[in-house]
């Protein structure tokens, strides 16, 4: 599904974020990308979302070269990917309901579909009682679950979660990871970046380890080894 071919990203002479990275992710996989801060995890994610361009190499989403897409096609690509960030990136002036509904509106879903799906998804991430709360009225864990609800509501083919548990306490971290596992069980590809050993070890799926922009390990059923 995702193919990195000799991808490098150099921000400046001394700052090499990705160094000749080649790997692929198959449909339905759950891949944890681990590494210290600054190892290049977020850069890797930005390459897939075309938020940043590689200095060398190519990134393909199925048969499409992501960085050759025009603005309109890029929007269409992003609609096939659900994204969850460490800092949630919710729309602060919209309620929980509206945040999720916005993602559906972006895809041109009808009012009926929105009215049917949004409460369902919010229930799924256990936010059924916070439907009309604004993000600032919710805890970190709740905000992250809302971000996940938004990411999954359009049933994307791929979910990318960039340090989704970075701002959460252990209990919320556990809950969020369980949600991702459930999503993956339902057939959605998940790419999760983290530097949380407990998270990686509890998932027991493929682990890609980055160090200084290079892939140093790629284990089928890996553990956090650094």
């Amino acid at each position: 599904m995702i193919y990195f071919n000799n991808v490098s990203k150099v921000y400046n002479k001394d700052g090499v974020a990705l160094d000749d990275v080649t790997f692929s992710v198959a449909g339905g996989e759950f891949v944890s990308v681990v590494g210290h801060s600054g190892a290049g995890k977020t850069t890797l994610v930005k390459m897939i979302l075309a938020e940043d361009r590689p200095t060398a190499g190519t990134v393909f989403f199925e048969s499409v070269n992501i960085h050759k897409l025009k603005n309109g096609d890029l929007t269409k690509l992003r609609r096939r990917i659900g994204v969850v960030f460490q800092d949630f990136k919710l729309l602060s002036n919209k309620t929980a309901y509206e945040n999720v509904a916005f993602a559906m509106e972006a895809l041109g879903k009808t009012d009926e579909e929105i009215a049917a799906d949004v409460p369902h998804v919010l229930e799924l991430v256990d936010l059924g009682n916070k439907v009309f709360h604004f993000p600032h009225q919710m805890s970190g864990g709740e905000q992250q679950r809302l971000a996940i609800a938004r990411a999954i509501v359009n049933q994307p083919e791929l979910i990318i979660a960039d340090e989704p548990t970075g701002n959460l306490d252990p209990i919320n971290t556990f809950e969020v990871v369980q949600i991702f596992k459930k999503i993956n069980d339902l057939g959605t590809t998940v790419i999760l970046t983290t530097h949380n050993r407990g998270v990686v070890d509890s998932i027991q799926k493929r682990v890609v380890t980055l160090e200084k922009g290079k892939i140093i390990r790629d284990d089928k059923e890996g553990k956090y080894v650094l």
């Binding site: 938020e51 603005n71 929007t75 269409k76 609609r79 916005f102 993602a103 972006a106 041109g108």
Partner: protein, 305 residues
């Protein structure tokens, strides 16, 4: 259709939730619209005063006593054919006498002297008004020209007071055109300044939403879907600011109408009320366009990244 409805709804919701930021933007747009309204009213006062002054300028041709009326009428009709001439009024010798008596009715010695003479010492005259102050010169030249002379003008014209008034007319002419140019220039400068300030304020309100715009893009919203609500919000700033502006100017013009009418010769309150629809359309259009175009331009920067 669904899209448009969602965009408009989102614009209203954002405006409502924007709170202080929304009202700050409305305030700035209100100031801009107030400047525009004030300038419209000022132009009205200025052009009214200028028209008043212009109206006082005229040229009179005095004829000799006993000049035949048909020759005068001939000259009058040929004057009326000049494109520069707005109006020619003929006052016959008898009317001139009656006006003279009327004007001096309290001046007993003059009236007595007039009675003493028995016959009418006054000649008829033509009063000419030009469309523009600057055109009196042309009319005066026409009177000197062959055209007027062949009409027998030379024999019957006693004097034309243009040459006595020339200095005043010339000076007035330069003052009027100067005032109009200056007024236009000041209007232009003030409007440009207010537009720049408004544009920057709206740019700031959108800058605050910079992060949100990024998130919307990541979620997969189309450019129209992102830009639309901001433009609707800009239009709402314009509409609300229009209402506030027109409401503010109601007591202001009322006060000015009461206290300044004699000074200006124009009741500003009456002017405001009788031209309310035109002012409303002008201000509303300026406000809405200003808000929408500013939003459109300000958000472009964040969409093309």
């Amino acid at each position: 259709m669904t899209n448009l409805r969602r965009i408009i709804k989102a614009g209203f919701t954002n405006f409502r939730r924007g709170g202080l930021v929304s009202w700050a933007a409305v305030l700035i747009v209100t100031i801009t619209l107030s400047v525009i309204t004030a300038l419209v009213l000022l132009q009205a006062v200025l052009s009214y005063s200028l028209a008043q002054i212009k109206d006082k300028v005229d040229v009179t041709i005095y004829f000799n006593v006993g000049a035949p009326e048909d020759q005068i009428t001939l000259l009058k009709s040929s004057l009326e054919k000049l494109p520069e001439v707005a109006e020619v009024t003929y006052t016959s010798a008898e009317e001139a006498l009656a006006l003279f008596r009327e004007r001096h009715k309290d001046d007993y010695p003059t009236i007595q002297a007039l009675d003493e003479i028995k016959e009418n010492p006054l000649g008829a005259y033509l009063n000419i008004r030009a469309r523009e102050v600057s055109q009196y010169e042309t009319i005066a030249n026409f009177l000197k020209s062959d055209n007027a002379l062949t009409l027998g003008g030379e024999g019957i014209i006693d004097k034309v007071n243009y040459h006595q008034n020339k200095l005043v007319i010339d000076r007035l002419n330069s003052i009027i055109s100067g005032a109009q140019k200056l007024g236009f220039l000041i209007t232009l400068i003030l409007i440009v300044i207010s537009i720049i300030i408004t544009f920057n304020t709206i740019r700031l309100t959108i800058f605050i939403s910079k992060e949100e715009i990024g998130v919307m893009r990541l979620v997969g919203a189309s450019n129209t879907g992102i830009r639309g609500p901001f433009m609707v919000e800009g239009a709402i700033y314009g509409v609300v600011a229009t209402l506030v502006t027109l409401f503010i100017f109601w007591p202001i013009t009322h006060f000015l109408g009461k206290s300044m009418t004699e000074f200006w010769g124009l009741n500003l309150y009456d002017y405001y009320l009788s031209n309310f629809l035109q002012i409303l359309i002008l201000v509303l259009l300026s406000g809405v366009l200003l808000g929408m175009i500013s939003s459109f331009l300000a958000i472009r920067k964040y969409l093309n990244k």
